[in-house]
Amino acid sequence: MSDKKPERRDFLFTASYAVGAVGVAAVVWPLVDQMNPDASVKALASTEVDVSSLKPGNTITVLWRGKPVFIRRRTQEEIAEARSVKMEDLIHPEKDEDRAKNPEWLVMLGVCTHLGCVPLNDKGDYDGWFCPCHGSHYDTSGRIRKGPAPWNMEVPKYEFVNANTIKIG
């Protein structure tokens, strides 16, 4: 086969297979893509939360895109603790200043970055959160400090619409 010079027929075979492959891919893609989030799921992209009743040291959990979001009004000690941590001590180095623009408010997805459980509040070795599933410890900035989780808890896009209302998404 390899000794032979390519003929007209070889060209026709290759061209036919190529067109066939494109055709198969064009049919398969809609069947695969239908499983991605649909328009109605994407439409639920933002949630507004009234946080006026939240006292320092308390956390509320709200649902956004089917996932829990922690909103914590942090105490001065917690802020100080989060800001005093050295970057080299962190598994996933992120400054607390970048995670909580307004230091009193920490807003993040309440989803452990290991396998997606909801960590427990005010637990663990670093005064923040502890995930009961596989033992990940997070600090008062929601950063991973110990355990199998690879990253800090994710901070979603959010903004203060006014002094009492946070819009997530």
Binding site: V32, M35, V41, R65, G66, P68, G116, H134
Partner: protein, 420 residues
């Protein structure tokens, strides 16, 4: 396979068989020469077929009442339990049937490991079996999600999140699997679809599994190649049918015990609480049959490597025929392998226990040692053992050791003539 061509006795039978040789197939299956020394560990193939059919029949009837919707699934399962005629019975058979299926498949797999049934020329039978086992795990996992209880929801969350360990595309794959940004209604409906599909895929693979088996024929406790048909074989019907039937009855007693006396003992109480995406149960545990792999996942401190280790623990079985370098099949003639075999059995049981315990302290340490040993067994012990071990001489036939090396020719002749 019998050498002679099968010809149906009746004229109608012959007419039909010439057009679709189903009767030839039935004749092949009944006359099929089977080693006469098969012990009860060989009855689990039939038991597994029974388990598959039980799951399909009970599953079809449950699907007539179940509603695959996040708002209604939990209630529809309670409706089945309380209102549907015999709904409790059908659901308990289906739920415990999954456990019985795995119990039987583990015995079947460890039978194969002991008697070397995975070795040449039966590698394809073995690999098809491993694919069936993987599909069983997928079906069981998705089935567990359908009642939409707390364990359903969080089990689904944890297992689908395993894919997020894949670099770069992981998060995209998880979103695709969910059909959203968390486990929710789209996830439930697709899991129901796949849970319905997989048993039929398994059924197709079972046909291939048996087809591939009927090419070389059964392995046997002595593990030697035998002539078929010969004085070393008996026809499948009635000899093996009766033996399989008796074993199946014994198995059904165990099955019935769970269904009628302890229907929830193998499940988890948290799954009678409806799914709540805001609260994770304090202690997430998979069903018992997945615990050894769960222990392996948790014993590796890195997320990606943990997932890789868990998958490797299953996939390593597919290449087992090439990892085991020994030409001798049966552990009966391999004094060292026999000991390592039982250590492996203990190792897997220990892993299973550790998977049910919290991943901390001594439990974690033991799980890590057991994980290391699991891989050591397949990757180091088996390849080396095949080259170093002094095995016991094999008999020439199944009959030889029984008749003291001088087979009674008259007896053997008589039996052979009966077979023909």
């Amino acid at each position: 396979m019998s050498d002679h061509e099968y010809i149906p006795k009746s004229k109608a039978g012959k007419w039909f068989n010439d057009r679709l040789p189903l009767l030839t197939l039935a004749n092949h299956l009944t006359d099929y020469p089977t080693p006469k020394n098969l012990n009860y560990w060989w009855t689990f193939g039939g038991i597994l077929t029974f388990c598959l059919i039980t799951q399909i029949v009970t599953g079809l009837t449950l699907a007539m009442h179940y509603i695959a919707h996040a708002d209604m699934a939990f209630e529809s399962v309670e409706h089945i339990m309380r209102d549907v005629n015999y709904g409790w019975l059908i659901r308990y058979i289906h739920a415990n049937g999954a456990s019985m299926f795995f119990l039987a498949v583990y015995i079947h797999i460890f039978r194969s490991l002991f008697y070397g049934s995975y070795k040449s020329p039966r590698e394809i039978i073995w690999i098809i079996g491993i694919i069936i086992y993987l599909l069983m795990m997928a079906a069981a996992f998705m089935g567990y999600v359908l009642p939409w209880g707390q364990m359903s929801f969080w089990g689904a969350t944890v297992i689908t999140n395993l894919f997020s360990a894949i670099p770069l595309v992981g998060e995209g794959i998880v979103t695709w699997l969910w059909g959203g940004y968390s486990v929710d209604n789209p996830t439930l409906t697709r899991f129901f679809t796949l849970h319905y599909l997989i048993p039929f895929l398994i059924l197709g693979l079972v046909v291939l599994h048996i087809w591939a088996l009927h090419v070389p024929g059964n392995n046997n406790p002595v593990g030697i190649d035998i002539k078929k048909p010969s004085k070393d074989t008996v026809p499948f019907h009635p000899y093996i049918v009766i033996k399989d039937g008796f074993a199946l009855l014994m198995f059904m007693i165990v099955f019935a015990f769970f269904v009628f006396y302890a229907p929830n003992i193998l499940g988890h109480a948290d799954n009678y609480i409806e799914a709540n995406p805001l609260v994770t149960p304090a202690h997430i545990v998979p069903e018992w049959y997945l615990l050894p792999f769960y222990a392996i996942l948790r014993s590796v401190p890195d997320k990606l490597l943990g997932v890789v280790a868990m998958l490797s623990a299953i996939l390593i079985l597919a290449v087992l025929p090439w990892l085991d370098t020994s030409k001798i099949r049966s552990a009966v003639f391999r004094p060292l392998y026999k000991q390592f075999y039982w250590i492996l059995v203990a190792d897997v049981l220990i892993l299973g226990y550790m998977g049910a315990m919290p991943a901390e302290g001594l439990y974690l340490l033991i799980a890590r040692v057991a994980t290391a040993y699991y891989f050591l067994h397949f990757l180091v012990i088996l390849p080396v053992l095949g080259l170093k071990e002094r095995t016991i001489p094999l008999p020439l036939s199944i009959t030889e050791p029984v008749l003291g090396g001088s087979p009674n020719m008259a007896m053997a002749k008589k039996k052979e003539s009966k077979l023909e």
